[in-house]
Amino acid sequence: MCMRCVELTRRSLLVGGAAAAASLHAGVAEARILPKEMVPLIGPGFKPVDRDEQGLWKEMERAEEEIAGSNLLIQDPQLTGYLKNIIGTVGGPAAQDFRIYLARIPDFNAMMFPSGFAVVFSGLLLRMRNEAQLAGVIAHESGHFLRRHMIRSWRDQRRKTDLFAIGSMLAGIGGAGAGVYLGDYVQLAELGTLLSLFQYSREMEAEADAMGARLVAEAGYTPIEMSNIWQQLIGEEAASAHYRRKNRHKGGLFDTHPSSDARMADLRADAAEVTVPGRTYNDYRDRYLSTIAEIRPTLLDDQVKLNDPGASQYLIETLAQDGWNGLLRFYEGEVWRLRNRPGDDVRAEQSYSAAVVYPDAPADAWRWHGISLMKRGRIAEAKAAFARYLTMKPDAPDAAWVRQMAG
């Protein structure tokens, strides 16, 4: 808990550096790019021929080896196979060339690397409400690759930095400071600097959106879901900011985190365009929910424990649009308990009470229900809740403490 030290040493480049690279949070064009204009610029089995691109691929080969060997990845074959199938469906001509990895990082993010492998953050799986949304994000990432955005942005950046050497030196230092943490040499670390070079332009983001919309529709996914992702992201950001009494950040001309609103609007128009009358589209919600069912408690746990109450509460309410259950009620209580403002103990208590009524209430809901009852002085009820917890989870790591409470 050397507080300062923890901060100094343990943040990662994948998170820091990749945020710069990322894909999802950047870019909007003034004029909408039409999906029908978006044709893939490469075919199956693409290999680089230019010297600079070959150099890039060489670095990326090593990067991929590091990422594939990272213990931050979720290796569950059911989940990774599922992602592989999706990118194989919406990957266009490169569908069979892509590799895709799932990293356990509770952020809304996914990224495509220049040599054709993608990394999806687990926080994305928590936020998507159906397979069409997940496919939309993956199709967007595929779009970056199919439109050769990495090498284009790299060359563009190079041209620009040659013009503004001093300015870019300053920017480079700032970037290195934000994304690269000394003493934090994740094997993934070396990506940090490289990735920061692939800040896609707004135009490229718009291209990837349009390309993605087209790929998704061709695969039979409900096209409008891609736009709904942005609606959810806007809602989450606004909710998070609202709790901190700030206004949600809105994109300006020189903003590197530009407006999600504009993208949502463009994607809505795209969806209308790519929809073929008479064809049926599906969002595959049931298949999505059953695939992530097992990991969902972990995803919720990772999110809620970051104690970003606005965002967490928004997410839970969004997921609850498909129906409240014991799991969601329990985590709603966790959000209040961790926020811990006056009155939050009562809110948490109510959520726990509501959670344990559902048959799917997790064991932890009973424990926290017991603790909140105990604090209220309702000892007999508290003991019953603790007993229930111990029955459900006899090997609980905190059984010794709970037994003492249960008296």
Binding site: T9, R51, D52, Q54, G55, L56, W57, K58, E59, E65, G69, N71, Q157, R158, K160, T161, D162, L163, F164, A165, I166, S168, M169, L170, G172, I173, A176, V180, Y181, L182, G183, D184, Y185, V186, Q187, A189, E190, L191, G192, T193, L194, L197
Partner: protein, 258 residues
């Protein structure tokens, strides 16, 4: 690109005159390996890029390959002259008797230990309890098990990073220096720099017995130091980094007494 932050911290401290620095630390009881020993070199991390005019590092696959080959050759030659048998592995699954997972765990701990050594021995966050104790860090049983399972006596972790000035860069050198007047020096205003470090782990005890950092840099573009792509440059680097491996203080004192 790895250890970029480190490169910044160390390079920022290079003055405007050209200089090459090394500083090594050794366990007090350390004797450089001689005679019949088996050395495992783990995934040497070598990157060579071209510094563009704007100060971006452009990775060059061909240069990196050349540099890696040169360093590996120089390393083999140098260790052979001491009598050691060297195995250089490029991938985690190449060490017989050791799983990729086990090797990964040793590498991860080593990264944390190397970071600690750099922070607490080179960057000024000195730990009072370690004063005058030479090098006092260990990888513990993980490294001992690696030695037992693989049959190696030592493991060497090596990192080399080199940037070669491209044509346009040299012309902008003067402007680069101007950056220093506005309050800081950009890390890569130098035409070329090289940051290498190596750590040697005794697989019998798990101790990090020797550590060295070489920083070669020039704030004035156009002045060249060992270019890692060439056999000469690579040999020079290996020599600088590993050649003058000094015994630990206790051993040196013992020799003086004798």
């Amino acid at each position: 690109m790895r250890k970029w932050g480190l490169a910044i911290a160390l390079a920022a401290s290079v003055s405007t005159t050209a200089c090459v620095q090394t500083k090594q630390y050794a366990d007090l009881q350390f004797t450089p390996p001689q005679g019949d020993y088996k050395l495992l070199v783990l995934r040497p991390d070598v990157t060579v890029g071209s510094l563009t005019t704007g100060g971006m590092v452009e990775p060059r696959a061909d240069w990196t390959d050349q540099a890696r080959a040169s360093i590996v050759a120089a390393l083999r030659a140098q260790q052979a002259s001491r009598g050691g048998q060297v195995t250089i592995v490029e991938h985690r699954n190449e060490v017989a008797g050791v799983t990729a997972q086990e090797l990964a765990d040793v590498e991860r701990l080593n990264a944390a230990v190397d970071d600690s050594i750099v922070v607490h021995k080179y960057l000024g966050d000195y730990l009072p309890t370690k004063r005058g104790k030479g090098l006092d860090w260990t990888l513990g049983q993980d490294a001992v098990h690696l030695g037992q399972k693989s049959g190696y006596d030592y493991a060497l972790f090596l990192h080399a990073e080199d940037e070669v000035a491209s044509g346009g860069r040299i012309a902008l050198g003067v402007l680069g220096l101007a950056g220093c007047f506005v309050g800081f020096c950009a890390p890569n205003v130098g035409g070329q720099q090289q940051l290498d470090y190596a750590s040697l782990v005794d697989l019998k005890t798990g101790e990090v017995v020797w550590f060295n950092v070489v920083l070669a840099g020039s704030q004035v573009p156009g002045i060249k130091f060992g270019d890692l792509r060439t056999p000469q440059g690579a040999t020079q680097m290996v020599e600088r980094l590993l050649g003058r491996m000094k015994p630990g203080q206790a051993i040196r004192r013992g020799r003086e007494v004798r």
